[in-house]
Symmetry: C2
Subunit: 370 residues, 2 copies
């Protein structure tokens, strides 16, 4: 664990030096029993993390590629995109860039789209796929996927494609139980690894669908991943060094246990939320962007009049936070309490944040005090 | 340089420990002046390596993705694929998987498609793109791209897309002078880096073409790379650790100088060719797959009756060579003399290879001796 982390971006997250060290191992060839054994271990542990009975695919690319893999293989014509912020919008744009027609359901800022709205949109919409964001990194909203999955599964031949880029590894994922057809993620968020690897848990239905979709392309062709996964291989040369780190981290996570890992993330989120609310109550001009019932266990988005002096003030003290995105670009900052960060490290950072907020005066009063 | 390399696969190649060490550096956020400075340095040096006046794009993915980027952005309907082996065929398949109609021109084994055949195929073919392999890793053939580029550039609105995955960094690349519209490569071959990064030098014509092609997708959308390259950024979270290694290696290559690097590769190829021919002449049952005038500077493909005892014999002595591909799967092995390997290291490996060939008797006589 990282006891005194200073890098609190919601991805890439800080990586333990022990994990970085694994990348010093010499290259191995990817069509060997050694690599197949690594891939078997990695896939077995990813299945537990993703709550998936099928193999979880490992893609040498960033999480965006795994989202595109879901879209390209899992949708045909009409897509319903549930959008809670920047990354939900990215999923929709990606579907359009692949030639699909997209209907957007957008939530209010910091909120999630009500299930009732989804139900209405689905009726008679003729959608063959629904895209959804489990954890919206832009606003710090964790959406309820289980109920959504039930709703979508009642539709005829409509698949559910879930972006879990900033949640997997930090909060329970239940691909099969959610009736999700794709749950995709990436290495550099709650999994606590360097960027460069993406993951995709997929359903039988998605594989069957893929066989019917033309123009799937090559690099993100699910059927190729399926073919190679059967022999614990990847279709193309994988990012070997990053696989070393993944292999080690999944072993370490198994040792920590998923339950304890999720509890640690929840404890970090609770500590962060409590503290931000206290800062708000004393007039430091901050507030949580996400609604109370939807607060993410991995990332907190904090609304503020102007994020520039806050981010710069933190940087001056050695701390990196995330900036804002989209309409919140200048009026929010984000704290990624994910990966191998700890409550102790978070509290130390929040002490400094409070100091910075006091000094820059971001509150309603000129000096930030009421 | 690696003075006593034992890993001679034609990708991934052996990586210097100093480069692996750079990957221990802590994460940085990718929207920062620090990362922009890194990307500016990297791009500047890649332009020199690729002989390109425009920015060379860095993709966090394997080389296959860069090939697909060229196809998806650079072709519309009809593609002519020049094929010298497995990787030329992959380029063609990729175009088909993207919905293009492909005409194949296949060379004889170890040979290159004669320019005259290309000229004939182009006439009246209505192709909007030609795919070609600069260095066919499956057969060890280096194809003449310069003359091909001239030929294709005489066609109306037909782009030339070149796979230089196993040549860039080991032999001169001249994107602009070749009149090539895309020259793509990857990190784990002659550039001497771990796998996980791909590169694409592109022409103005390709960028203009991309704007007219629909269904380009998102992750490999050239126009996004162009937009972000203008501010020295990547469209999505890049593989930060691999960029550290790339940054260091490009600096080291600048110190070595490209000329000396290419001369070292040519010297390794010459040493390998001379030695294989000598082994052939004493009846050790080996011969070069590639024709004399087409021998690759980075990889030698060696035909043999049965590669299994050779590969196993080498492995027993600590050396890893590459196996065969496609129709040569069992009847060839491949030596990747690329990246940071040296003539001294190669000669030491070839001594062991000769010993192995003598002991396993791969020649026409039962004991491998005539």
């Amino acid at each position: 664990m990282i006891e005194a982390g200073k890098f609190w971006v919601p991805g890439p997250t800080e990586v333990r030096p022990e994990l970085l060290d694994t990348m010093r191992r010499p290259m191995i060839f990817h069509r060997t029993p050694e690599m197949e054994a690594l891939m078997e271990r990695v896939t077995r542990r990813l299945r537990a993390m993703f709550g998936a009975k099928r193999a979880v695919h490992v893609i040498s690319a960033s999480g965006t590629a795994a989202m595109e893999m879901a879209i390209r293989n899992g949708s045909i014509r009409n897509v319903l995109s549930i959008i809670h912020g920047n990354f939900g919008e990215r999923f929709a744009k990606m579907a359009e860039a692949s030639g699909r027609t997209v209907v957007r359901l957008k939530s209010a800022l910091g909120d999630a789209v009500p299930l009732e709205d989804v139900r209405k949109a689905l009726k008679g919409g003729g959608f063959d796929a629904v895209t959804a964001t489990h954890n919206e990194t832009a606003t710090g909203v964790l959406a309820p996927i289980s109920a959504l999955g039930k709703l979508v599964s009642e539709e005829d031949d409509c698949l559910l494609l879930v972006d879990a880029v900033s949640s997997a590894g930090g909060t329970p994922i239940a691909t099969d139980a959610w009736c999700a057809d794709a749950v995709v993620s990436a290495s550099q968020k709650a999994m606590g690894l360097p960027p460069g690897l993406a993951f995709a848990a997929v359903s039988d239905r998605l594989v069957e669908r893929a066989a019917k979709v033309s123009g799937r392309g090559h690099y993100l062709d699910l059927l190729q991943f399926e073919e190679f996964a059967a022999k614990h291989q990847s279709p193309t040369t994988p990012a070997v060094s990053l696989l070393y780190a993944l292999d080690q981290q999944l072993e370490d996570i198994e040792t920590e246990t998923l339950d304890r890992r999720y509890a640690r993330h929840r404890a970090m989120a609770d500590a962060c939320v409590t503290r931000i609310r206290r800062m708000e109550s004393v007039g430091l001009g901050v507030s949580l962007t996400a609604k109370a019932g939807l607060l993410s266990p991995t990332v907190s988005c904090v609304s503020v009049a102007n994020n520039k002096p806050v981010l710069e003030g933190m940087l001056k003290r050695g701390y990196t936070l995330g900036g804002g995105q989209s309409e919140l670009a200048k009026t929010s900052f984000r704290i990624g309490h994910m990966g191998d960060h700890t409550v102790a490290g978070l509290n130390a950072m929040l002490d400094v944040l409070e100091e910075v907020l006091e000094s820059v005066g971001t509150g309603k009063g000129e000096r930030g005090r009421v």
